[in-house]
């Protein structure tokens, strides 16, 4: 049997320096965490439209923010010990620290197993209950309140959103105006590829897809201007597919409706062709001579009431189609109210 026990082995009490002290790495970590936190707070205070649900402007966004903070706080229970203990153990049980106990065969402890499995499990159960409640409560398809909502039909083009107000016969690009005293009920579709409609300060995003109708319910809590955008990449003009959502007082809102009805470009087929073209909002503004409107906005009047359903049906050979196919699934199991709305859109 070959043994190396007799081979000379060095055993010296010389403490050599590590090449990069682990302290260095840890100090860098701490510094970076701190600066990131500072930057985050700093970034929230800016002029311009409200960007984020961290400063929520509607009930949905407010609940989402609370949920976010709650999740972070609860999960930190499991996360912080790791961040603290990992460098601590690495330091305390470092090779040269002969005073620390060394148990090379210790690989199991039943009480510790209970804690390691049990604590995350309990946390996940708790979070799962909250998740279920919150998902149902903040379902984009769910009506926000009993008040009669403002209906807006949203069509995603490359690269602009068209907002149709079917009850008023007007439409706009670049501005989604609504009153603060009523919720907003959006029906969305796309004339082109899959897109995702998003107003962070107000609430959830939702996909808009060709041949299908999705719903989004939002509300504003106070007048203001909010960033709106598309988050699903759809081509070179994607970054420019932005708009402003504006919550107005009821008086302002009615004034705006009247203003658009009077000054808007009549939605003739030629005008509609310009909208459908694969260009940005700015290019469409140029093509339509829309300088009289505020920056980045285009208003339309005399909008055909069946424009939205026509766009949806265009992907079904122009034929009215079942609610199920409208939602893209073989069995759409929406509430009857929503199903009714879908059928109206399909048949209207």
């Amino acid at each position: 049997m070959l043994s190396h026990a007799n081979a000379p082995s060095e055993w010296e009490d010389v403490y050599e320096e590590d090449s990069v002290p682990p302290e260095f790495t840890r100090r860098v970590h701490r510094l970076l965490f701190a600066s990131c936190a500072a930057l985050l707070v700093g970034g929230c205070t800016s002029s311009g439209p409200d960007l984020s649900f961290l400063d929520p402007q509607g009930p949905v966004a407010a609940m989402q923010r609370t949920h976010l903070f709650g999740i972070v706080a609860i999960v930190l229970i499991v996360v912080l010990p790791v961040i603290v203990l990992a460098p601590y153990y690495a330091w305390r049980y470092r090779y040269r620290n002969r005073s620390a106990p060394y148990r090379p065969q210790w690989g199991f402890s039943r009480p510790l197993e209970f804690v390691i499995w049990g604590v995350p499990f309990a946390i996940v159960i708790g979070l799962a209950v909250w998740l279920t409640q919150s998902t149902v409560a903040l379902d984009p398809y769910r009506q926000i309140s009993a008040d009669k909502p403002v209906r807006v039909e949203v069509i995603g083009y490359d690269w602009k959103w068209l907002f149709i107000y079917p009850d008023s016969g007007i439409a706009s690009i670049g501005l989604l105006a609504f009153p603060v005293d009523r919720p907003l009920s959006l029906h969305l579709t796309s004339d082109t590829v899959m897109q995702s409609f998003f107003i962070p300060a107000l609430g959830s995003q939702i996909y808009a897809m060709g041949g299908m109708v999705t719903h989004l319910n939002l509300a504003g809590s106070a007048p203001g201007r909010f960033l709106g955008e598309n988050t699903q990449y759809n081509g070179t003009g994607f970054a420019q597919q932005k708009f402003i959502a504006r919550a107005m007082t009821p008086a302002e809102y009615h004034a705006w409706l009247k203003h658009v009805r009077v000054t808007g470009i009549p939605m003739t087929p030629e005008v509609y062709d310009v909208i459908r073209k694969r260009t940005t909002k700015a290019a469409a503004r140029n093509a339509l001579g829309a300088d009289r409107f505020p920056d980045g906005e285009i208003y339309f009047t005399d909008v055909p009431s069946n424009l939205f359903p026509r766009v949806v049906r265009s992907f079904h050979g122009g034929v009215a189609t079942s609610a199920g196919l409208l939602r893209g699934t073989p069995s759409g199991h929406r509430s009857s109210a929503d199903a009714g709305a879908s059928n109206a859109a399909a048949g209207g």
């Binding site: 070959l2 700093g42 311009g48 049980y93 002969r98 960033l227 990449y233 970054a239």
Partner: protein, 700 residues
């Protein structure tokens, strides 16, 4: 069809990177044209230099006979890792370009939107399919058969074919820099954007065929690894005596077997839509784009566990080896790994909570997603308690492991945030999501692979890597990652969408600038790795560890010379416990002379791997450019090669017992004359690969 049309398909001069710039020399075209041409030139130059150097030093025969046709898992593993480093370089450069663009992207920036879109598409595609998958496949290929005491994987020729197909996919992505352009639809390639109606060009086709080749390779790899672990474990190695890395390799390969088919189906159905006018995912005539999302993410979610499980296995090895201690909670880790593998098939909808399905469906998948967090958290704590009451040595792999632990849990936190549909509605498709998955992939996967590289390099090549430059690289990766991605969490919460070339709100600028600094650190980290390799090769005498055990390793791969012989073990070992090599060293049973040597039969080299790889690349290229003659010819060649291989009968070679004995005795003589070192001298020139296993201080 004219003759020119038949020969050239849809190739035109316009498909060269500099053509647009010459035809329409606007400012934007020139900037983008120069960047594109430079990239294309680097590919051509790189290939030319490589070919030139091999010719200059007359190494073609060696390259062919020792490497390309080798079916040795060790050689194949090394080639996979070489491929992944090449692709990592390209993808990091792309990342730096994107960060630079976004740092100066207020109101425009310097990159065209189309160029930026290709960058984010190639970056994601390369990092996942041609950097991460090859890296982990290479590491498992190298280490796993040694760890289970086998001579090779179950299907060595198929192993070589997998490598060939993966390289073919990578070649297609590289060629897209010179001829034509790549997809702009991201690494996920959602239709209808990637349908012919919206993107009739070659981009999505390059993406489809590169992915198809890669996924076929990975499917075969999964079968290979799983069968190897089931059927080739050495005597006495029951499942619960396998090293944790082998456990994670097993679960990874099972995931590969069952998760790659959905990707193949998704890409091939999209190809049918694009090439033959089918209507699987189109807007009209009954197509349903949501099916693509389901198919893709049925693949995509298990895929991310394919990416992370091998890293988890590496960390298990690293934590126990460099704490000089058994792994805490071995059984828990095994059950947790299996739970993760199973659960990974139950969560795919969380990638598209916002697609409009009901709250009930979203809630179910949200809860399932959080459930996966439990076994993952358990693993982190198990590693933590592996250090507890150990003797921790802060080598480069351990630095990666500790940094992983601290950073990964933050990614886990953001993952739980994303798992909640109501919050996900706010952060989906924003940079928060991008920060989350990079948080999992960089500290998780990449640090794990780099730790594995550092850890097993001496086994593969007989000398250690330079520790100082390893530390520099690790520090740059850590700092770079934090600076590049933590600001992205912030801007994501501030509404910044992903895949955005430009933005119009100055509030985002400071975050983007910090992120750019991080990207520069990451580029420096990559550079440091190359410097480390250069210096290590130069100093390979001083760093030499031919006796085979530089780290006082615990599992069987360390019980071989460095590098091991082609057949791995002269006599297949018999195992009686976990941590088999440590057990042997403790009981004085290591470095034995076997009672008897026997002839060893191993497979001969085979050209089938490189042939099918080349054929695959040509088939892909032909399909992209409508060069039907090329596709047909290459397919016929591939089929013929497979049929001809069926007629091969002389496929094995015998290594005589006397040779085996001579090699083994030579190694044992080397060990006998080697000075054993304690861990204090682990990083010294004195460490030539023999561990003084007794620890002088009192151990309980």
């Amino acid at each position: 069809m004219s003759l020119a049309h038949f020969i050239f398909g849809r190739l035109t001069p316009d498909d060269l990177p500099f053509w647009q710039m010459l035809q329409h020399p606007t400012g934007a075209n020139i900037v983008n044209g120069i960047i594109a041409t430079t990239a294309g030139a680097i590919v051509v130059l790189g290939a030319a230099v490589t070919v030139g150097l091999i010719t200059r030093y007359g190494k073609w025969r060696l390259l062919w006979s020792q490497w390309l046709t080798s079916v040795d898992h060790k050689r194949i593993g090394i080639m996979y890792i070489v491929l992944s480093f090449v692709m990592l370089t390209r993808a990091v450069i792309e990342a730096v370009l994107m960060r630079t663009q976004q740092a100066f992207g207020l109101d425009g920036g310097f990159l065209s939107p189309n160029h930026f879109a290709q960058l984010f598409s190639t970056h994601g595609t390369i990092m996942i399919f041609f950097m991460a998958m090859p890296f982990l496949t290479g590491v498992i290929n190298y280490a796993m058969p040694l760890q289970i005491g086998a001579r090779d994987v179950s299907f060595p020729v198929m192993n070589s074919i997998s490598l060939g197909l993966t390289a073919a996919g990578a070649a297609l992505v590289m060629v897209s820099l010179d001829i034509g352009q790549f997809s702009t639809g991201g690494w996920s390639g959602y239709p209808p954007y990637t349908e012919a109606a919206f993107n009739p060009g070659v981009g999505p086709d390059y993406w489809i065929w590169a992915l198809t080749l890669s996924s076929l390779g990975s499917m075969m790899t999964g079968i290979n690894f799983a069968v190897t672990i089931y059927k080739r474990r050495t005597c006495g190695m029951g499942f619960f005596r396998m090293p944790l890395f082998t456990w994670t390799a097993l679960c990874t390969s099972i995931l590969m077997i069952f998760a790659m088919p959905p990707l193949t189906v998704a890409t091939l159905l999209l190809a049918l839509d694009r090439y033959l006018g089918f209507h699987f995912f189109t807007n009209g005539l009954g197509g349903n784009m949501m099916n693509f999302a389901n198919l893709f993410w049925l693949f995509g979610h298990p895929e991310v566990y394919i990416l992370i499980l091998p890293a988890f296995g590496v960390y298990s090895e690293v934590f126990s080896t460099f704490s000089g201690k058994v792994l805490y909670g071995y059984r828990s880790l095994v059950w947790a790994t299996m739970a993760i593998a199973v659960l990974s098939f139950t969560v795919w909808v969380h990638h598209f909570f916002t697609m409009g399905q009901s709250a009930d469906i979203n809630a179910v998948f949200g809860v399932a997603t959080m459930l996966i967090g439990i076994p993952t958290g358990v693993k982190v704590y198990d590693w933590l308690f592996t250090m507890y009451r150990g003797r921790v040595r802060l080598t480069v792999p351990m630095i990666y492991a500790i940094a992983f632990m601290m950073l990964f849990v933050i990614g886990g936190l953001s993952g739980i945030v994303l798992a909640n549909p109501s919050v996900d509605y706010q952060v989906h498709n924003t940079l928060f999501l991008v920060a989350h998955f990079h948080n999992m992939l960089i500290p998780g996967l990449l640090f794990g692979m780099l730790a594995a590289y550092h850890f097993w390099f001496p086994k593969a090549f007989g000398f250690r890597l330079d520790e100082r430059w390893g530390m520099i690289a690790a520090a740059c990766w850590i700092i770079g990652f934090v600076l590049a991605f933590f600001p992205l969490y912030a801007v994501g919460l501030l509404g910044f969408p992903r895949r955005t070339v430009a933005y119009f709100n100055p509030a985002y600028v400071p975050y983007m600038r910090v992120a750019l600094v991080g990207a520069v650190f990451i580029a420096a980290a990559l550079g440091s790795l190359f410097v480390q390799l250069w210096i290590s090769v130069r100093n390979r005498q001083a760093y030499g560890a031919p006796a085979g055990d530089p780290w006082d390793g615990r599992s069987l791969e360390w019980a071989t010379p460095s590098p091991p012989p082609e057949y791995n073990f002269p006599v297949l070992p018999e195992v009686t416990a976990r941590d088999a090599f440590t057990r042997a060293k403790d009981s004085g049973a290591a470095y034995q002379i076997p009672a008897q040597f026997a002839d060893i039969t191993i497979p001969k080299n085979s050209a089938l791997g490189p042939v099918l790889g080349a054929a695959g690349a040509l088939i892909g290229f032909g399909l992209v450019w409508y060069l039907w003659w090329l596709t047909v010819a290459a397919t016929a060649a591939a089929v013929a090669a497979i049929i001809v291989r069926g007629f091969a009968r002389d496929t094995e070679k015998v290594i005589p017992a006397s040779d085996v004995e001579r090699e083994h005795m030579r190694w044992l003589d080397l060990v006998a004359s080697t000075r054993a070192v304690s861990r204090l001298r682990e990083l010294d020139a004195a460490n030539t690969g023999l561990a003084a296993h007794a620890i002088p201080e009192t151990a309980q």
